[in-house]
């Protein structure tokens, strides 16, 4: 084992303690935004510092870490964060969702269902679902306290008036534990139902906005929807991943440079690679037999 040059997990113990306390409070009050003293990090605020601080406060020597950026394990941001955590902790890194104990993610929940032995950390740019409706933090805090959520419903109503349907692509607001309305971070609507009764603990960290909040395991999470305009996931019916053939997953829409045609591909790269490997193994074993 190589000697570490910095303090374990970068942050000093006092900072970790403070973040863990905020985390515990967040778990105790599902969906409630707990303020915390966001530290200066070696990456810019707004680039995942909230998630990173949560990860660093949670990570132990036994942990196996996976970092994803919009479904991809190899994107620059994910790699940088992985490198930072690894160089300060020496923890094992993985791309396989099922092997990870700690998963930090930007804007996606992995396709493979998470288990009770895993923690999902989501990076949040804007933790306040009521912000577009009300600018003042002092007021939004009061609105949350009084469970006064007409503002968020009004925003959905306005979208229906203007576009004939709710036009939230990502970050569709959810009601947690029938109490707090929460921004689920900019995950696609496709991932919202995965939060409902999730087996894994879901923690959300906003570094720039200095907030931590949580969805504890098996918590009710309902996507907001009117009686006559029901909540709908993104629809990929009739489309499949052009690489692995998966159909019931969140797909990226791409344009093939050579043919000019629209093709679809798994957004969750590790899921796609995993499926391809399995398909290949099956092919090899059938040839052998």
């Amino acid at each position: 084992m190589k000697k570490l040059k910095t303090h374990f997990a970068f942050l000093d113990e006092g900072s970790k303690k403070e973040i863990r306390r905020a985390t515990l409070k967040a778990v105790a009050i599902p969906g409630y935004q707990v303020p915390f003293a966001s530290r200066e990090m070696p990456i810019g605020r707004g680039w995942g510092t909230g998630g990173l601080q949560l990860t660093l406060s949670l990570v132990g020597k036994e942990d196996v870490l996976k970092v994803i950026d919009q479904g991809a394990d190899e994107s620059v941001n994910a790699v940088s964060i992985k490198k930072l955590v690894h160089s300060t902790t020496n923890v094992e890194l993985t791309e396989a969702t099922e092997d990870a104990t700690l998963i930090q993610s930007r804007h996606r929940i992995p396709e493979i269902p998470l288990t009770k032995d895993q923690i999902l950390v989501l990076q949040v740019p804007m933790p306040e679902p009521l912000r577009t409706y009300e600018k003042k933090e002092y007021i939004t805090k009061m609105l949350h306290a009084e469970k006064e959520y007409s503002g968020i419903w009004l925003m959905l109503f306005e979208q229906i008036m203007k576009y004939g349907r709710t036009s939230t692509d990502a970050d569709h607001p959810v009601l947690v534990n029938e109490r707090y309305v929460m921004a689920p971070s900019p995950i696609p609507r496709f991932d919202n139902p995965k939060m409902h009764h999730s087996e894994a603990l879901i923690l959300l960290g906003a570094g720039r906005e200095k907030k931590i909040y949580a969805v504890p395991p098996y918590t009710d999470v309902a996507s907001l929807a009117f009686d006559d305009y029901v909540f709908q996931k993104e629809d990929f019916s009739g489309e499949a991943c052009h690489l692995c053939g998966a159909t019931d997953v969140f797909l990226d829409e791409l344009v093939d440079d050579h043919t000019g045609k629209t093709i679809y591909q798994c957004n969750d790269t590790s899921y796609c690679v995993d499926r391809l490997n399995k398909l290949e193994q099956e092919e090899v074993s059938t040839v052998d037999a």
Binding site: S150, W153, F157, E158, D227
Partner: protein, 280 residues
């Protein structure tokens, strides 16, 4: 009429701004200039105000600027806290409870379900960046409605009632003229069929023909829906046209109250006399 039970009843409302001092703490010995204490500067915005609002009537509140009219309205609508006093609403749910001692959630519930408010400045009552229909829906959503088509229907009907052309319902009120904004505000206040409606200087700043429109609308609403209203105005012509009964305020106190005609024809208090006779 007096045998009827008031729908809204205020008892000994006081609203003060400031901490007070030795010289103004005792009401019997305090020596105020108008409504403030000369030694510590504490303002007595409302002093020991009691009033009753009966079902279906319009109660007018007149007085010069700074007399405490708007402070009274803000207290009634829970926009600001009271220093002391009691407020009762004739309602199964809140019968016999002093509304000013309720929790913030309960107060909000009453605002959303039992009250309507039209502010002098539409900026306070409307979300200028949201559509007009959305503004009306906001009040319905707050009152628990979660059906888009139903809310749209109610909103359209109300906008029609206040003569806003329906093809403009998806426009933001900031594109509207002052009179139209005021009418959208009235439509919004009416959306949840409130038993009590507060109107704070609704016609101030509107030109005469638009004023007449809005007043006409208010009168019609009272007749059709039987809503009880408190109308604050410094314009006696407005009070004369709308109010059944009137109270006159000066320096935070009610100095006269009675039937509107009586007050306007035969004022007793010297201030009311000046006020009435200064009417051009």
């Amino acid at each position: 009429m007096m045998l009827e039970e008031p729908i809204l009843s205020v008892k000994n409302l006081s609203k003060q701004f400031g901490d007070g001092c030795r010289r103004c703490s005792d009401p019997s010995t305090r020596d105020l200039i108008k409504n403030y204490c000369p030694s510590c500067g504490m303002v007595f915005a409302c002093r020991d105000i009691s009033l009753d609002l009966y079902p279906g009537e319009i109660l007018g509140v007149v007085g010069e600027s700074g007399s405490g009219k708007s402070s009274l309205m803000k207290c009634l609508y829970f926009d600001s806290d009271v220093t002391s006093g009691e407020l009762y609403l004739q309602d199964e749910e809140f019968y016999g409870q002093n509304l000013w001692t309720l929790s913030a959630q309960k107060k909000r519930y009453i605002r959303n379900h039992k009250y309507g408010m039209v502010y002098q400045n539409p900026v306070h009552g409307l979300k200028m960046d949201f559509t007009s229909i959305g503004n009306i829906a906001e009040k319905l959503i707050a009152a628990g409605n979660r059906n888009v088509d139903n809310m749209k229907m109610v909103g359209e009907k109300l906008l029609d009632t206040v003569h806003i052309p329906l093809f403009r319902m998806k426009e933001e009120p900031r594109n509207f003229s002052g009179g139209m904004q005021q009418r959208v505000q009235i439509a919004k206040a009416l959306s949840n069929n409130p038993p009590v409606l507060f109107l704070d200087e609704v016609t101030t700043g509107l030109d005469l023909s638009v004023q007449a429109d809005v007043l006409d609308l208010i009168k019609r609403i009272q007749r059709e829906f039987g809503i009880s209203m408190i109308v604050v105005s410094h314009d006696l012509a407005v009070i004369r046209m709308l109010a059944d009964r009137t109270i006159v305020m000066l320096n935070g106190e009610v100095i006269e109250n009675g039937l509107t005609d009586q007050i306007l024809e035969d004022p007793i208090h010297p201030y009311t006399q000046t006020l009435v006779y200064s009417l051009l």
